[in-house]
Amino acid sequence: MKRIYMDHSATTPTDPLVVEAMLPYFTEKFGNASSLHFFGQEAAEALEQSRKQVAYLIGARPEEIIFTSGGTESDNLAIKGIAYQNSGKGKHIITSVIEHPAVLNTCAHLEKDGFEVTYVPVDSDGILDVAELENAIRDDTILITVMHANNEIGTIQPITEISKISKEKGIYFHTDAVQSVGKIPVDVNELGVDLLSISSHKIHGPKGVGALYIKKGTLIQAIAHGGEHEARLRAGTENIPGIVGFAKATTLAKERLAVDSKHLTELRDLLIKKVLDSIGHSYLNGHPTKRLPNNANLRFSFIEGEAMLLSLDMKGIAVSTASACSSRSLEPSHVLKAIGLRPEDAHGSLRFSLGKDNTREEVDYVVESLAEVVRKLRDMSPLV
């Protein structure tokens, strides 16, 4: 069966050029970067070269990049690292209601550990309320963590506005840029953040690798203990092939950003227009323009998302309900609830996340198939 993948926010295929870049580091240049001999030094050089490439993508310096095992670990390290380092100064953290579980559950863990967390709401378009955030700041606020772009509805948050405030108040500011990197420009200096999380597998790099940008001079505590790797902030033998692949993916992402984002925006807008035009009682979730070029989160009344997803899957089309992580749970998405959807509407939403290799023909086929699926499920629905 021909298969169409429109779930790039969950993960992306690794680019063949990335795999090619990784290959020598499995079998030939396989050294441990801590070893002093030739094999080790070869690995250490690859590591530092990769650090430069990743730093370059986001306008950082190489020494500001810590490699991790993925976006989740980067978020954990950033938030716990700042929290434990600064708990003497204060124990209050501000975040948003629409963060990824990697941030929300880390915050929840810190709450059990004596920290207080304020969850700032978003408007019905899914954009954070900056005034509310400013109001939430207290004398003991040590960290603000707000995502750059949301993984479910793709909305882009006012990071530069927030960083102005955080700088003024002398509060550390972390952003989870896992979804935005490679789709919109991400420059740590323009954004004005102190810490920023990235994940390799969302930008056509391998799974199991990520990075945390830590602005020079920002002290954080390690959360994994062991050897003295990664400036003593992340113990464990470095995953050199993974890191080399990640670095290659960042380089490709940087080169392709302009072309890709134009292509994705066109496809996204085409998909949204066609769906809204051809399927009754369908709606777009999230802000119409302040959203990732590749995200279309659509809502269909009277029917349920998983049933749509699996029906589309039988037609070879891969999409997602809410985020991949929460798609096994029965709770409607916290993000869709946060933008004010009724539970039954949240349950009836689908996320289409496009990739650079998707085509207009695929969009046509997807919309046709979707119309059929929606019709069939509505025929079965007692709510119509």
């Binding site: 029917i303 349920e304 049933a307 699996l310 029965l330 349950h347 709510l383």
Partner: protein, 129 residues
Amino acid sequence: MYSEKVMEHFSNPRNVGEIEDADGVGRVGSPSCGDTMDIYIKVKDGIIADVKFRTFGCAAAIASSSMMTEMAKGKTIEEVLEITRDDVADELGGLPEAKMHCSNLASDAIRAAIEDYLEKQSHKKDNSR
């Protein structure tokens, strides 16, 4: 994730629809929880002569509804009332833990339809007394 049987019933659900002059109707679940089932039955000589459903819900909910209608059709009311909550899931070759409530929902739905039928019957008797 789902058994083949579940996927088969989900993609080709049996007995979808309404029965205009149903003898009993059951509705369980609520849209805000993500699933609602309507089950319609036609009873003849104490036997479920016809049964149809409409379901708002996930694949497991739809497959459970379909399977439930198949299991109920042609059986006596007493037999159908003996179908336990797990039986539907078992007939479907199992359901993921998180989806077991769909099996429950389906057996609850047909029970509700039968109760509706029995209540209407007793009203009829009352009225005819």
